[in-house]
């Protein structure tokens, strides 16, 4: 799949009036696990068209899927009819020393506030089921931030496009 057309990126930036945070996609969905595959499909296509490598496409898709899974399981306790919003924006930032374009995913839910203890990861040395989702998110994304505002949990995930390694031998 080709990278997102620069003209389309520019139009998205115009629409949003903020040249550094162009809204590319907005999804509203109920907290129904059967919809996770649809979100994965959309995120996978978007990351491909944005120019991420195949491993990074998988990583971003996995992180968003795991974040939604956490919202459904922990914030909404498995209730399938609660609101979730996902905003995806193009962002500019730093990836290591190089300026880079990236994607920002803002996941919003109206469940109870998440305590710090719930954001702690268990040790991977323990072989036991559960508690892996947050590991996958943190290992997959460059920025993972949580905040509570106006009765809404907001999880912000950012991944920057890594520059392709150039073959210096040729």
């Amino acid at each position: 799949m080709k990278s997102l057309d620069p003209a389309r990126r520019a139009k998205a930036k115009e629409r949003n009036g903020d040249s550094s945070r162009a809204l590319l996609l907005r999804m509203e969905l109920p907290s129904d696990p059967s919809l996770l595959c649809a979100v994965r499909g959309a995120v996978e296509r978007l990351t491909e068209s944005f120019g991420f490598s195949e491993p990074d496409c998988r990583a971003v898709t996995r992180a968003v899927d795991e974040a939604l899974t956490n919202i459904i399981r922990h914030s909404y306790k498995g209730r399938p009819d609660q609101p979730i919003e996902v905003f995806v924006r193009a962002v500019h930032g730093q990836n290591s020393a190089e300026p880079s374009e990236g994607l920002e995913f803002l996941l919003c839910d109206r469940g109870p506030s998440i305590e710090d203890a719930q954001l702690c990861m268990r040790a991977l040395e323990e072989v036991k089921p559960g508690g892996l989702g947050l590991h996958f998110i943190k290992q997959s994304m460059d920025i993972v931030e949580y905040k509570r505002a106006n009765g809404t949990n907001r999880l912000r995930l950012v991944k920057f496009v890594r520059a392709a390694k150039q073959d210096v031998s040729s």
Partner: protein, 110 residues
């Protein structure tokens, strides 16, 4: 996601296709635990060659199957991991915990 099973001597092979995520991992878990804990099949093999994606809840179901098989002294084997499935097991440092083979022939010979 679809799951079906085959019997070969003292082995049960589960053929799984599609994505394993929160919507269907309980089905995998239930099938595995029944086979291992209730039926006490000596060797349970998971054919994941048609599984494109596994999330953390799917990994948790596989870990439960593995732990149950250890508890009863049976074998729990995976084969045909996709790149994505292999990645999540590596990320969770579980790849070396499972008995993993490339294909069914190797899984049954192992």
């Amino acid at each position: 996601m679809q799951i079906s099973s085959r019997q070969l001597d003292k082995t049960t092979i589960f053929d799984v296709s599609g994505d394993i995520d929160l919507a269907n991992s309980p089905v995998i878990r239930k099938a595995l635990l029944r086979e291992v804990k209730e039926i006490r099949t000596p060797r349970v093999v998971m054919n994941l060659s048609k599984v494109r994606y596994i999330d953390s809840s799917g990994v948790a179901s596989l870990v439960e199957g593995l732990k149950a098989s250890r508890d009863v002294g049976s074998r729990f084997i995976l084969f045909g991991l996709s790149t994505s499935a292999r990645e999540v097991l590596q990320l969770s440092r579980l790849l070396k915990i499972f008995e993993v083979y490339d294909n069914e022939e190797q899984a049954l010979a192992g």
